[in-house]
Symmetry: C2
Subunit: 198 residues, 2 copies
Amino acid sequence: MPDATEGSATRREELLAIAAGLFAEKGFKNTTVRDIADASGILSGSLYHHFDSKESMVDEILRTFQEELFGQYDAILASDAGPLDQLEQAVVVSFEAIDKHRDEVAIFQNEAAHLLTFERFGYLAERNEQSRDVWLTLLRNGIEAGVLRDDLDVELTYRFIRDTVWVAVSWYRPGGRRTHTEIARQYLSILLEGIHCA
Amino acid sequence: MPDATEGSATRREELLAIAAGLFAEKGFKNTTVRDIADASGILSGSLYHHFDSKESMVDEILRTFQEELFGQYDAILASDAGPLDQLEQAVVVSFEAIDKHRDEVAIFQNEAAHLLTFERFGYLAERNEQSRDVWLTLLRNGIEAGVLRDDLDVELTYRFIRDTVWVAVSWYRPGGRRTHTEIARQYLSILLEGIHCA
DNA sequence: GTCTATATCAGGATAGAC
DNA sequence: GTCTATCCTGATATAGAC
């Protein structure tokens, strides 16, 4: 009785995970349907029993991931933690996502700009907007509460945070010298206090 | 008398600029030789009078750009400015590159990882290594001189700087609300002093 | 659910005329 | 230096047997 809610992944999820790994590693366009089939131990034609197209695969991969991630951001915003705590939690959650869903983050990072040009992936633009809202809210709350500098361009600051957090996916490797929590902590230290001597 | 040293670009340079724009916008793999030819007002076959292959084009684009950029880094390191000044200059020069060579930076950012897997583009790995040396040297000099915090992981700090600087190419638009110098200044302010209240 | 076989098409590249 | 014409390969996707 295959069931998506079970611990063991369904065949569909297995195939998606394999595809995600390839998309992340070689890029969407550079990964052929045959690559995915090979890695799955079946032939390319068989993949079409499970999915409409290569696009459907990347679509499902990104949708699932973003639903989870934005659920976490919402929970943080809805919590009664202070503005600084919320900002820190958002950073931690993001690095956690890089650790737990590396492929998905990488795909989003590397392919979103291109996929965005197709109507089918319009929801990615909405997610971008939503992410911007989250970070801007966190920053503005911090400034209002007097814990963050009020002389910085909020829009620029948001971009720097967003970029630095997500781009870490390009070099972070789970099981490496530093855990994602350590990285998040160091990152927050730089972001909050700067690298200059006090 | 067409001459590369003249103010007016040679046909070759014109074509490379057009190709660079497309590579940056749509990605290397997603840009067809016919796309480049169309944008240049000629037919695809004619391009092969000027270049061996699509790969040769991106190769020449990246080589030329990197030669210039690393020349600037070398000049900064060789100067007798203080460690903090040198670090600031390196950041400024990088944002300048984003302004003046947006396409080239974007191509390097988006395609290097993939191109790197081909022997032909092995020099990109060397350039990465060289870039790492530059930033690590700047950071270590700063720490040694006592102007930078010594409690940070230098390797992580380097990555954060590198990533945040270059990823700006994905959103920076020349002629926008902020000049590249303003952006560099704000960025340095965050990097050096942090966003937390003093 | 997977395989065999194949239709269909797009893209990189070439040869030779103009 | 550009065009015409075309080759060749590799990629997505389909249809139907097992």
